[in-house]
C-alpha cells in the first residue's frame, strides 16, 4: 500500500504535468479575453499528429519533432484567431462555445479521415524507455523526462511573465483589459501572441502525451474535459493556479483509478463541482 502510494503519487504528478502543459495556454487566454475556447485540445491533437507523422512517415527522431508540434499548433491557431475568433470577442458565451465546439467537431472528423480512428503507434527512442531506480523505488524514464520538461517550461513562463516587458503587458491585459487599452497597450496583438504561445504549448503537450495516453481522434474531446476542469479549478489567468490544479487533478485521477477503479472518474468530477461551488472563480482566480 505504502510502496504503491509512492508510485501513484509519482505517476499522478507526471500526469498532472501533462495536463498543465495542455491547459496553461487556455487559462491565460481565457483570463485575458474571456473567450471560451473549446477547440483548445484540437490544437493539442494537431501537435500530436504532426509529431506522429514526422516520426513514422519521415523517420525523424522524437526530439526533432517537438519544436514542429509546437510551431504547427501555434501557427494554425493564429490563423483561426485572426479569421474566426476575433469576430466573437464581444459575443455571448454561448456563441463562443458553439463556434469552438464546431471547430473541435471538424478537427475530429478530419483527423479520423486522414488517420483513421485507431490509436497511433509510436516508438520512443531507447533512452526514454524503461525505468531507473532511486532510493529503492523505480521511476519511468519518460515520466521523469516529462516532469523535467514541464518544470522547465513553468519556470520559463513565470520568468517571462514576471520579468519581461511582454509579460507585463500580458498581466496588465488579464487584470484589466480596458485599462490596458487605455494605456496604449496593443491588447489584440498581445492576445494573438499569447494565444499562439498557449496553443503551441498545447501542441507540445499533445506530442508529449502520445506515449502516456495515446492519440486518436477522440483526443480533442477526451482531454478537453480534463483541461477545462484544470482551468476552472485553478482559476482563470493564473499560471500558478493551473499548476496546482493540474497536479491535484492528475494525482486524484490516477489515485482514483488505481484504488477505486469501479468509480472511474466519478471522484474527480465530484471534487471539481464541490471546489467550484466553494470558489466559483477557481482556487486562485480573482473574478
Amino acid at each position: 500500500m505504502i510502496g504503491s502510494l509512492f508510485g501513484v503519487l509519482f505517476d499522478g504528478f507526471a500526469y498532472g504535468m501533462l495536463l498543465f502543459l495542455l491547459s496553461v495556454g487556455l487559462s491565460v487566454t481565457l483570463g485575458m479575453m474571456n473567450f471560451v475556447n473549446l477547440a483548445h485540445c484540437a490544437f493539442a491533437m494537431l501537435g500530436g499528429y504532426v509529431a506522429v507523422t514526422l516520426m513514422n512517415g519521415f523517420g525523424w527522431p522524437f526530439f526533432a519533432t517537438l519544436p514542429f508540434a509546437f510551431l504547427a499548433a501555434a501557427l494554425s491557431s493564429v490563423v483561426f484567431e485572426r479569421v474566426l475568433y476575433r469576430r466573437l470577442y464581444r459575443a455571448s458565451d454561448l456563441d463562443q462555445v458553439l463556434l469552438t465546439i464546431g471547430i473541435a467537431f471538424v478537427s475530429v472528423a478530419v483527423a479520423a479521415y486522414i488517420y483513421g480512428t485507431v490509436q497511433q503507434p509510436v516508438q520512443m527512442p531507447p533512452y526514454l524507455r524503461g525505468s531507473i531506480s532511486m532510493f529503492g523505488h523505480s521511476f519511468g524514464v519518460y515520466r521523469l523526462f516529462l516532469i523535467g520538461i514541464a518544470l522547465l517550461i513553468t519556470l520559463l513562463l513565470v520568468a517571462a511573465l514576471e520579468y519581461t516587458r511582454f509579460g507585463a503587458k500580458v498581466r496588465a491585459a488579464v487584470d484589466n483589459q480596458r485599462m490596458a487599452r487605455g494605456l496604449g497597450i496593443n491588447v489584440d496583438g498581445v492576445f494573438a501572441l499569447t494565444f499562439a504561445l498557449g496553443s503551441g504549448l498545447a501542441g507540445l503537450g499533445g506530442a508529449l502525451a502520445i506515449d502516456i495516453v495515446g492519440l486518436d481522434p477522440a483526443f480533442a474531446f477526451t482531454y478537453l474535459i480534463y483541461v477545462l476542469i484544470v482551468v476552472s479549478v485553478g482559476g482563470l489567468g493564473s499560471i500558478g493556479g493551473s499548476f496546482v490544479a493540474a497536479t491535484l487533478i492528475g494525482i486524484s485521477d490516477v489515485a482514483g483509478k488505481y484504488y477505486v477503479p469501479q468509480l472511474g472518474a466519478f471522484l474527480m468530477y465530484l471534487v471539481m463541482i464541490v471546489l467550484l461551488m466553494w470558489r466559483p472563480a477557481g482556487l486562485f482566480g480573482r473574478r
Binding site: 454561448l94 462555445v97 471538424v106 472528423a109 482563470l236 468530477y269 467550484l276 472563480a281
Partner: protein, 327 residues
Amino acid sequence: MSVAALTPQTYLNDQARWTPVEIAFWAATLLPYWLFPDYLSLASQIAITALFALSLDLILGYAGIVSLGHAAFFGLGAYTAGLVSKHIWGEPITGLIAGALVAGIVGYAASFIIARFRHLALIMITLGMGLLLTELANSMHWLTGGNDGLQGVKMWPIFNTFRFDLFGRTAYGYSLIVLFLVFLVARRIINSPFGLSLRGIRENALRMPALGAPSRAHIRTIYTISAVMAGIAGALLAQTTETVSLEVLGFQRSADVLVILILGGAGRLYGGLVGAIVFMVARDQFSGNTPQFWYFWIGTLLILVVMFLPNGILGGLAKLTSRWRRA
C-alpha cells in the same frame, strides 16, 4: 400600433394568439402517417428529440442559462421509466410520470446550484453534473446494466388498447401527443408575465431584481420545469425503444441537443422543433456508415450558423419575411 396597445397584457395576448402557420405546422405533424408510413420510428425519434430541445430552449433560449449537461435529466427520465417497466409494471403513463418526477426532483435540487453561477463556472458545473451522472450510471451496473444497457423493458399497451407495434405507429402517436401537450404548457409559460421576466433575466440578470423580479427564484422554477420536460422526453425514448443505454446521459447527447436548438433558433418556441426535424432527417440520410463525416458537417454547420445566422433557421426566416413585408 396605438400607444395603448403597448401594455404588457396586450403584448402578451398578442403574442399568445395562434397563427395560421402554427396550426398548419401541427396539422403537418400528422402527415407522416400517410406520406412516410415506413419512417414512423424516425418520426417518433424526432418528436422526442424536439421535446428535449424544447426543454433546453426554456432555460437556454429564454432564461439564458447555458447548459452542457442537459442530457442528465433526459437520462434520469429514461432510466426511471425503464426501471419502472422492468421491476414494477409496464403501464406507460405512470412510467412517464415517474420519469418526469425523478428528473424534476433532481432538477429542483440542482437548480439551487445552477442559480448561483454564470459564465464559465456555470458551463463547467452543468458539464460536470452530466459527466458525474454518466459515471454513476456506469458504475451502478447492478441497477442500470452499465455499458450493456438496460435490458428487459417491456411496455403494456397504452390504456390497454394501443399496442406498441414494430412500425412505430403507436410510438409516433404517443410521442406526438405528449410533445403537443408539453408544448402547450411551454407556450403558456412563455406567454405569461413569468415568461416575460425570464427574457428579462436573459438580457440583464442584475437589473431584473431591481425591477422586482427575483432572478434566482425564477431561474430555479424554470430550471425545474425544464428538467421535468427533459425527463418526459427521456422516458418517452425508453418506452418507445424499450431499451436504455448509457448514451442517453452522455455528453454527446447534450451537445447534439444544443446544436439542434441553435440550428432551429434558440429563444423561439418552434426553434427546437424545426431544428430537430432538420437535424434528425439529415442524420438519417447522411450519417450512414461513417459517423465521423456527419460530425464534419455538423461542425461546419455550427461555425456557419454562429457566423452568419445568429438566430438559427427560424431567425433567418423571420428576417426574410420582415424584409419581404417591408418591400
